[in-house]
Symmetry: none
Subunit: 180 residues, 4 copies
DNA sequence: CATGAATGAGATTTCATTCAT
DNA sequence: GATGAATGAAATCTCATTCAT
């Protein structure tokens, strides 16, 4: 799995031939097929693991900052998310470009769902601060997609915006969207 | 070109073999290579044409609503954009997934740039209504990506949000982000 | 024909596609096939013409030096032959490398035959100077091939031997071989 | 390799498609590409092997006749060379016609160099028997090319000269060229 | 007589997958 | 359970040749 992740990150989906993965893993190509039915199963599993690790580490971040007031905690979470994505830009690119082809992605959805739930709680607890007409489910989808995709595009496209500023702008986007 | 667009929309980049495209066009494979130097040139041209058509039709929309006040015009533009994307969801998927592999896309960038310019003018003309500390370039990147990606994901992922509501939410996102 | 010769000399047999020849000639590819049944016919005709021109110019040389004593005339002939080959090294390379594939070559053989005849006359007229046991036909084949191939290899491979010296050595080879 | 040699000998460079070679070898086309990176690598390797075998067998001949006086040994060598070339006329034709296209040929040069070296020793050891003004390097090039090409053309073109006579004539050509 | 778009056989090469050892 | 040689379908691309206009 480590070898597959490495090869995928470095050479992309098409460049990651099964032979190359086997070689990087130091095993015969035949052995690969004792554990995975086909190439896509490998890729899915690598991306799943990637999503899991992301989720775990965001969890840790959440736990660590839950005591802080919302604005501080939220900002810390955004900061952590971007930093984590930056660590694995290669895999992230594969995930964003290839995931659609591999069917809707359980693990990535799970991640998104957990963050969404977190924000849902926040919205319900503090509903008096926000727009009265807010369609919570729609707003959550919008925010999850917007913040997720913006973080990803920021990491993959490297626009001329500092990390600090990016976090501020994302926070502003969220707050501005929710408040009355 | 029509055949290529059709095959690409239905089977994606990899599924669209040059032989299949030729067959769909009802011509010999050799004829394809009289007009295009290689497969990627075909794909690029199809996507370019797609982007061009998008741009043209958005232009028409802009022209038609320029007289209206900003909120009305903006909403009409968002509405038109989503509707146009919906018409060619298949090609749109290819564009979003494959464009990265084909190098940064002149035509798609051009489209994004024109919309960005439009908003820039709006920002400058009405700067007193907005945050004083606004980093215009950063904000434009954020908005272009957010609105663009959200429209695309909305069309491709079909979340349970009505077209009307989606337009409203996008408008809210933009306004909320910019205002003081 | 000029165009074909040019393309052949510059790009070799495989690089000389019929379309490229037609384009270089400034005519449609269809027109080519009104005058030549197929590609090889073009090549054969070009090489024939090349051989003819070579023969004509050697003829002129022969005529011009026939009055001179044999050693002078022979040397002048060798000198002229090498110089002529040098003028069209490109075509010469095609001829030497590709001609075998195109069947035994009438015109090139004709050239060889005429030079051979010349030397045959010389041998018969001056037989008292040469080996008694000389098998004239064998000797002529040997000399024709040796002098021809050496001249060609000299032009195509450019060994570190001066033009002057090369002529001397060829003369020496011939004389040494024939004399008692 | 044997299959490739057979197909090359029978159908020439262009006629020897990789599919045909694989079929002749009784293996799948994919297997070919496990051992050779591309078609030219196959051809080069076949021709190399051919040149090696030639060299080995000439070596044996050299060893066997080294004790004999020069004229006998030289004649035996010429005889052996022609006989060896005759055994593989098909491959020889490919080598002579295609070698130029494949870049100057290490192995074939090596063969030529070893024979040349042999003659160089002979020249230096017996220099008093030869022309005083002999330019050794030029003479060696001339002889190597002349004897090599004549042997090859003899085998490929089958002129009406007996094997015995051919050996005699080549010997005469060499002696006549070198002696005072 | 000129044209050139159309053709498609065929060439080389890749790579996911199998299966006998 | 591990191995990796063998496989062959399929992909991209070329080019000599045809034939309707």
């Amino acid at each position: 799995m480590d070898a597959a992740a490495r090869v995928l990150a470095e050479r992309g989906y098409e460049g990651a031939s099964t032979n190359r993965i086997a070689q990087a893993a130091g095993v015969g190509i035949g052995s690969l097929y004792q554990y995975f039915p086909n190439k896509d199963a490998i890729v899915v599993m690598v991306l799943d693991r990637f999503a899991d690790r992301l989720a775990d580490r965001l969890d840790a971040q959440i736990e660590a900052t839950m005591a802080e007031p919302w604005p501080v905690a939220g900002r810390a979470l955004l900061d952590a998310q971007i930093r984590l994505l930056e660590e694995d830009a290669g895999l992230l690119r594969v995930m964003v470009e290839q995931a659609p082809r591999l069917g809707p992605f359980d693990k990535s959805l799970a991640l998104q769902r957990r963050l969404t739930d977190l924000v849902r709680v926040y919205l319900l607890l503090n509903h008096e601060e926000f727009r009265e007409d807010l369609d919570v489910e729609a707003a959550l989808w919008i925010l999850a997609e917007a913040v997720g995709m913006l973080s990803i595009r920021y990491v993959l496209d490297r626009p001329p915006i500092s990390h600090e500023r990016m976090v501020d702008e994302l926070a502003e986007l969220i707050i501005g969207y929710l408040r009355a």
